[in-house]
Symmetry: C2
Subunit: 251 residues, 2 copies
């Protein structure tokens, strides 16, 4: 199973939930590429409860027609401020998301220098190397031999990770579709009407830029219930592009 | 007018479109704080055509009840790879968004070390100081005395900047509302039904985490047309919290 590295990232922890044969990659996009090419499993972050969707995962789900979500794992995220000797230092290494999730906490610290790096585990590695501070997971603290200065109290902080493969899954209690619609009054309304008539609850709806045309979007919609052929046929009539990306269980 | 600094950022360029008395801030959140407290103007990035919404701006629009959008400026974004002497170097400084917008271009460069910093202008400053490369605006290239290695061809790259103040604007041809709804089947459908019946086109809809309750959201919706009291009264009946954030012109 492939995950976003380097080692001891939250993605690493999520991957270990499913398998003990896990391999790091350099980016989320690389995971999609490998999963499609080698017909293996991958684990990617989908959405964080504080910061919202992970765009790179959503955009790749839309891009790769043959990759589906098989399971979703809802992981509680605990962030720690740490350093080599457990003491406050001048410089803090952090990644973009961990920084945003800890912003209130960081403001009160009066840190001289904040260095942005690509992941929480890279932050841990650099904090060790340069005798600085970092924001990272407990797994990273332990594996880089750091000491915790303080647990950052970020209540309600969860990340949903998706187990992806080239095989669609049909029998979970949550499903995801991606779609585009015409840019005209009522287009999105006509899609939602179908869910309303079938009495299906939506659990998530996001719009993402199409990138090829400015200010045009595709939609990312999760609903309660499993794969339903009749529902998808109705949706086909009111969308331009429609992609079913799997019915899955949330662990 | 206050903008996200340091100097020579794209926000700086956008601010100069409206005023020649412009002052940098350290964060988007700081702009909202100052605009409310001092009753002045601010300029904040709202959305990028490739990377989607700027979460910090959206979340602050929701948080600050007395701040409204007065104008939106749709600015074409041209990114440049630059260094002190115009030659390729080992290290690249970039911010998170510029990196995402240039990812395809960067992949082909075989760069040894990528350092993430808080803004494109900070990247330019560090590139000058450390004889490295950066991704930044033409304004930053000129003001830090750098030389362009190559224009990064990011087609369809635009950023919408909002001019914000403590006074609502009522007469533009676009309007924004923020709202929350009950988590039940048909809740969002009931909101969109009103726009459908009034034959009003939606130009943007995003959901954002509420942060206080995991996996609960507020919605950010832009529509064609100006402030309409009757429309807002209908919307009040189908939403829990409803915030009108201004009708404005797009420049």
């Amino acid at each position: 199973m492939y995950y976003l590295g380097p080692e001891y990232s939250f993605s690493h922890e999520a991957a270990l939930k499913f398998s003990n044969k896990v391999y790091p990659t350099k980016s989320i996009s690389e995971i999609f590429y490998i999963v499609e090419k080698e017909k293996v499993f991958g684990i990617v972050p989908l959405e964080n409860s504080l910061e919202g969707p992970i765009h790179e995962s959503l955009d790749n789900l839309f891009k790769y027609d043959n990759i589906y979500i098989n399971y979703v794992y809802n992981m509680g995220i605990k962030l720690f401020l740490a350093s080599k000797d457990g003491k406050i230092r001048d410089t803090l290494y952090t990644n973009h998301y961990a920084y945003k999730e800890s912003e209130e906490f960081i403001k009160n610290l009066n840190i001289n220098k904040i260095e942005f790096v690509s992941s929480t585990s890279e932050a841990a590695r650099l904090a060790k190397e340069n005798n600085s501070m970092c924001i990272c997971s407990k797994l990273a603290v332990e594996n880089y031999g750091l000491n915790i200065i303080k647990e950052i109290n970020t209540e309600n902080n969860y990340t949903k990770f998706a187990l992806i493969s080239n095989k669609p899954s049909y029998y979970g209690n949550r499903s995801i579709i991606l779609f585009t619609i015409k840019n005209k009054p009522g287009a999105l309304y006509n899609v939602l009407k179908i869910f309303y008539k079938e009495n299906i609850n939506l659990t998530m709806i996001y719009s993402r830029p199409l990138k090829t045309i400015p200010w045009e979007y595709y939609f990312y919609l999760e609903f309660e219930g499993k794969y339903n052929k009749k529902l998808l046929e109705q949706l086909k009539n009111v969308t331009e592009i429609l992609k079913f990306k799997g019915s899955y269980k949330i662990l």
